[in-house]
Amino acid sequence: MPNDISKNYPYSSIIKRVNKLKWVDILGVVTFFLILVVASFFFLRRPEYVTITVRLLESNAPASEYNRPRQLFVENLQKGLRETDQLGRTVVEILDIYRYPSSIVNQDVFATLKVRSIYNKRTGQYSYNGLPILIGEYRSFRLQNLRLSGVIVDIEPNEVPRETKKYLVTGFLDSRDHDNRPPEERVAIVDGINVDGVKNFLADKIVPGLKMFDNQGTVVAEITLVNKTPGKISFIQNNRYVEVNDPDRKYVEITIEVLTEKISDDYYFQKEQALTVGETIFLTFDNLRIRPTITSIKEVE
């Protein structure tokens, strides 16, 4: 009689088979299923896109001039370049490239990347390809036929742009910084001759209105005023101090309007150059690089 009932039941064959299972079979299935369910909590963690800023460097070494990426590499960096997985989902994408175009071979380049990552609530870390994304860490990302490497400088950068401020910086061109002498020879008196002013071919190039841009077209520095006076050579001859004009040189004083960004509590030019009286500031224009020594700084109202 019970058999007849089970035959009429719609899932009778399934019930029959399940009834056949012994406790050890059930234990096995439960174990398999339990591990899968527990694991699925990890698997079902939805990957999130995290935006990070990477300062590009050629190798994992301090950001010296020679470690910055070269123009040949930089020209391959394109906004929108992306790496996808097998389902066509974006894994890494270049959202933005920020740099200061100039004639320098090794440049400062910052790339803003959108990275598909997993967020761990416990540690507060994002991880990409199994490894955590950490500020200050040197990481590499593959994007199609490109390997982008550098130090992570920011994670989830603030959408609000940094506070900026303009300063009027006055300075002069020191011959020691513009004569292409090796550092050990950059002293005031070379071979008993004191030189004041830079070579004419350089001084003539410096004119008011010279501008420095970033790659978004924002003017970051502009020469507003140039004052050129004859260069001088001074030396000691027959126990007398002699000072004569040097027709090959000009003493150049300039006033530059620079755009600075607030990082922590201070303002920096090109994110890294502090404005300090007595120190130099590095400016790169088309086919021209100068390093004026700052003599005064004034905030632009």
Partner: protein
């Protein structure tokens, strides 16, 4: 209509071979669907469905594990967890631009491994408890327990029946178990990623657990069932071989990985940095991480298939039986040839040589038969042969560069000498399973690890360095007793020879590669066949053993 006829004829054919139809068909479907699956998440779902369906159909977790264990192992992909063993700044080789990373894969295979261990543990501990309570607790109390638990635990319950660890009677199994206990101790004491090391050991232990489960399943099965299970296992291995060989051929034609979810590598691995191989030649990796790893697995799979074939050949129609063994040999050997693994070539040569020396009549007969089999395919075989000779001679020529100052030989020698130093530091229990690279970096950061952060290319030294001398001693004892069991089981001469040559082929591979082949597939199947043979009275009617 045609389709229905086709399916019916396949069903009839498989049934005529004595295959368990549903487990075999579902395994084939699982392998095919997994190969085509677009994502790893989907692969998990497919794996679970396959597993659940097998349990449902066979009504036995033991049978399910018996059939699904190696297909799961073959497609061992899932979520990878990465651990930096050596930071990238410490390595001078451009190949390791993210440092030397060791991984743990959370895959369906790992879940099945844990399940296998849990099931075996439940069976064994159940039986042990039964014995303990029989011996220790006085009889009236036993009766009371029986009365209380009778409704819950049926009379024929596996833990109370004759289900369990008769396997423990086997000395080899006992020594293997002790070896694993020592592995676990070694891993838990490891100074480098002990949790990861324990996970590695757990996964390895599941292979032994599979063997124990298989033995238990055989003991509780009828003669007919055992024959069916062995035949089905043979055909599952054959399908696995077809799948992997097919993927290898495609990779060879494409000269790169195909991009399947089940492939363990997504980019073409870099070859030729040891100056001893042609960098322009892609060595197919199949479903493994490296060409050598693929070759290593193929050597043990080939030996296993031959062993199983020798066991069941007489129950299969002669023509079909011959077709399957010749196809298996061709698929496996051609895959090994394509990998250009010199150590695998040596293993195969050693395997054949031993067969030839100790049983040259049968070997010659087999060779003649194989040659006759391909009479009609002379020209394609000659063309393929010429190509293989070219590729192999190229590899042989490049091998000469191994002897140069920066060649592979010097690197291997340095690795071995540093590994010996490591062994001196912790001789008894080693540095922990899978922790060789981390330990050698810690031991000598300026050593060979600086430019070649890899496992020492000698499986025996790797074993001692990672797991110590104590487990080696117990393992040797285990293998000795296994050998004794093989001798005592009175296998035919050919079977004995295949068993011993297969094990030696595994060890030859270990001499040159960082693989620990101490519990490889052919060893497990050997132990399984001993179990079959010990019940010769039950099985003698049909099996060839």
């Amino acid at each position: 209509m045609y389709r229905r006829n086709f399916i019916t004829s396949i069903k009839k054919f498989l049934l005529s071979l004595g295959v368990e139809l549903v487990p075999f068909a579902s395994t084939v479907t699982y392998l095919l669907v997994s190969t085509a699956t677009p994502s790893r998440r989907a692969f998990f779902v497919v794996s679970f469905v396959y597993f659940a369906y097998l349990v449902y159909h066979t009504s036995s977790i033991k049978k399910t594990i018996f059939y699904s264990f190696f297909p799961f192992w073959l497609l061992n992909v899932g979520r990878e967890f990465l651990f930096v063993a050596v930071p990238h700044e410490a390595i001078r080789s451009p190949l390791y631009w993210e440092g030397r990373i060791i991984t743990f894969i959370f895959s369906p295979f790992f879940i099945l491994s844990i399940t296998t261990i849990v099931v075996v543990y439940a069976l064994v501990s159940g039986n042990l408890l039964k014995n303990i309570y029989k011996w220790i607790i006085p009889f009236p109390i036993c009766q009371l327990f029986r009365v209380i638990f009778r409704p819950i635990i049926r009379q024929k319950n596996p833990i109370m029946g004759n289900d369990v660890p008769h396997g423990l009677r086997y000395k080899y199994l006992l020594f293997f178990l002790i070896t694993f206990v020592l592995f676990f101790v070694s891993s838990s004491l490891s100074a480098y990623f002990p949790d990861l090391s324990l996970l590695y050991t757990t996964t390895e232990f599941s292979f032994l657990a599979w063997l124990m489960l298989a033995v238990v399943t055989f003991r509780n099965s009828s003669n007919k069932e055992v024959i069916k299970m062995l035949t089905t296992l043979f055909f599952i291995f054959f399908v696995m071989l077809i799948l992997e060989a097919g993927i290898t051929y495609l990779q060879f034609i494409k000269q790169g990985v195909i991009g399947l979810t089940v492939e363990k590598v997504l980019t073409i691995p870099a070859f030729g940095f040891g100056a001893d191989e042609n960098r322009l030649y892609f060595r197919p990796v199949g479903l493994s991480y490296h060409a050598n790893s693929l070759a290593n697995w193929q050597v043990s799979l080939l030996t296993t298939i031959i062993l199983l074939w020798l066991t069941i050949q007489k129950i299969l129609p002669k023509r079909i039986s011959n077709f399957f063994i010749v196809s298996s040999i061709v698929l496996s050997v051609s895959t090994i040839v394509l990998t250009l693994s010199r150590s695998a070539y040596l293993s195969l040569i050693m395997f054949l040589l031993l067969l030839f020396i100790f049983n040259y009549k049968t070997t010659l007969k087999a060779l003649r038969f194989t040659l006759n089999y391909f009479q009609k395919l002379k020209i394609p075989i000659l063309i393929l042969g010429a190509y293989f000779i070219y590729v192999i001679s190229n590899r042989a020529f490049n091998t000469l560069f191994s002897l140069s100052e920066t060649g592979g030989l010097t690197t291997r020698q340095t690795q071995i000498s540093e590994a010996i130093q490591l062994i001196r530091g912790s001789p008894l229990l080693g540095v922990g399973n899978g922790m060789f690279i981390s330990a050698s970096y810690d031991f000598n950061p300026q050593g060979v690890v600086r430019f070649f952060p890899e496992y020492v290319h000698n499986g025996f030294i790797l074993f001692i360095a990672e797991r110590g001398l104590l487990p080696l001693v117990t393992y040797i004892l285990g293998i000795y007793y296994l050998y004794k069991s093989v001798k005592e089981s009175l296998f035919p001469k050919t079977v004995q020879l295949v068993i011993i040559s297969g094990v030696i082929a595994n060890y030859v591979m270990m001499l040159f590669q960082p693989f620990v082949n101490l519990f490889s597939l052919n060893i497990l199947v050997t132990a399984l066949l001993i179990e079959v043979k010990r019940h010769a009275k039950r099985y003698k009617q049909k099996l060839s053993l």
